[in-house]
């Protein structure tokens, strides 16, 4: 490894240390999803993560962000009337969302599972035929809004969901979109 490469690597690693990161805490998951959408549109280097134990209530997400960009990020959020409850530095490891997908191909139907959520589509019509799993109250609501609609017509879980289960369904939805795209 050349000296330049060594320094580059060192710099990259240092930028990812927890001391450089903060978390935005919101009132509910819907707010997190709105904020995530906005900040990703602005190409911010953020990640949706699990909150540290001291602020967990049972169904929550936080947004991890580079502390140095805090002021800019808050300004962007305020411009869209999104207000975090707290902005705190990361002091310990955050929980990473599940990122493994399980796929079952039934022939005509394809089911994708992300964490505790499953979505099934008819591969010939690309219609959402079932949503299952989960335990938060938006799961039956998401099912009611999505089942029977084509993937390109159904609302995305991100746009109408409110909870971690809704967020997990979004991951399954994205994976299905990826698998079913031409």
């Amino acid at each position: 490894m050349g000296l330049l490469a060594f320094f580059k690597k060192t710099k990259t690693t240092a930028a990812k240390t927890p001391n450089d990161r903060g978390i935005l805490v919101f009132e509910n998951t819907s707010e997190v999803i709105r904020a995530e959408n906005l900040l990703k549109q602005h190409d911010r280097s953020i990640r949706v993560m699990g909150p540290p134990p001291e602020i967990r209530t049972g169904c929550d997400l936080v947004i991890e962000f580079p502390l140095i960009e805090g002021l800019d990020i808050l300004r962007s959020l305020e411009a869209e009337n999104i207000s975090p409850l707290q902005v705190v530095p990361v002091t310990g490891p955050l929980l990473e969302p599940v990122n493994i997908f399980f796929t079952t191909d039934y022939g005509q139907f394809l089911m994708v599972q992300a964490a505790n959520m499953k979505m099934t589509v008819d591969q010939t019509s690309l219609t959402v035929v079932n949503v299952s799993g989960g335990g938060c109250p938006d799961v039956p609501y998401l099912a009611a809004e999505m089942v029977g609609k084509r993937l390109d017509e159904a609302p995305s879980p991100r746009s109408i969901g409110h909870t971690l289960c809704g967020y997990a369904l979004q991951l399954a939805y994205e994976e299905i979109m990826r698998k079913c795209s031409p």
Binding site: S30, F102, A115, S132, G135, P140, L142, T163
Partner: protein
């Protein structure tokens, strides 16, 4: 009488309590009719069929509209905290509710003031809150699927979404996950792990594995777990112990699945309508 606590995916559905009725694939509560094709209404419809089959009183329900914002769930939690101590139920089954540890604890405390302690069953969001609260031992039965079992097995996970990567979701690892869940005091006295193979377990390990009949497409159909929990709630209320109620619920649900012969695109109501026949086959042959 037993009661079921849960939500309806309609933000305008008011907080209601009382016995339910079932007619033409609709759950009837007061003047309101709710489709039974998913969630707590599907659970109640399944429980209702058992009650009707055995000429037992129908289940009571505590229902509120909630589409995931948690507003309805919080009003339901508050109502239960205030009212439940004065009620008399043989069992209480908790279902789709926004998980909230503080509210869970307040409701559990109120249940502790009931004159006769009911058998407690938790599924879905309330099971998540029960695990997070560290009071899983207050419950007779949890009904996780394999992903939720991994969550119970992971001492640090606050929700199945965060189950750590080294806790594998493979069904063949279920006995190991069951052991970990009990090791961390994150399991009820009985677990009914729902999947291609339904597993009944307690702190001693796997008691029973139910593999037949098998209908692979049922895994894809939203609400099949709700059927099992509904049957379980009813069988428990009829006096069956946790182990027997789990085995009966699993088998009757599978038999209804066979009768429905569903595809992965079928809806759960297509299976619910076959529950009376599956009960007849199971108990009268």
């Amino acid at each position: 009488m037993f009661a079921v606590v849960g939500t309806v995916p309609d933000k305008n559905f008011p907080l209601l309590s009382g016995p339910v009725d079932l007619s033409d694939d609709k759950l009837i509560m007061g003047d309101l009719r709710v489709p039974v094709n998913r969630g707590t209404p599907a659970l109640l419809a399944s429980a209702f069929q058992v009650c009707e089959f055995f000429n037992a009183p129908p289940p009571a329900a505590y229902l509120v509209g909630d589409i995931g914002t948690g507003a309805g769930s919080r009003s339901l939690y508050a109502y239960l905290e205030e009212k439940i101590a004065g009620e008399c139920f043989t069992s209480l089954t908790f279902h789709y509710i926004q998980p909230d540890v503080d509210w869970h604890n307040r409701v559990l405390f109120a249940i502790g003031r009931m004159a006769e302690p009911p058998v407690l069953i938790a599924d879905a969001g309330f099971m998540y809150a029960a695990k997070m609260s560290g009071q899983s031992d207050a419950y007779e039965i949890f009904t996780p699927d394999i992903g939720e079992l991994a969550f119970l097995a992971d001492a640090d996970a606050p929700h199945p979404f965060y189950t750590r990567g080294f806790i594998f979701h493979e069904p063949e690892r279920a006995p190991e996950l069951i052991s970990k869940a009990y090791q961390h005091d994150n399991a009820a006295r009985h677990l009914l792990v729902k999947g291609k193979t339904d597993i009944v377990a307690d702190a001693g390990g796997v008691i029973e594995s139910i593999t037949e009949p098998v209908v692979p497409s049922m895994e894809a159909i939203g609400g099949t777990g709700d059927i099992i929990t509904g049957l379980l709630a009813a069988f428990t209320a009829l006096g069956h112990d946790g182990r027997k109620a789990c085995i009966y619920a699993s088998t009757v649900a599978r038999m209804a699945g066979v009768l429905a012969d569903p595809s992965p695109g079928s809806q759960v109501v297509d299976i619910i309508e076959h529950i009376p026949m599956s009960l007849k086959q199971f108990f009268q042959t």
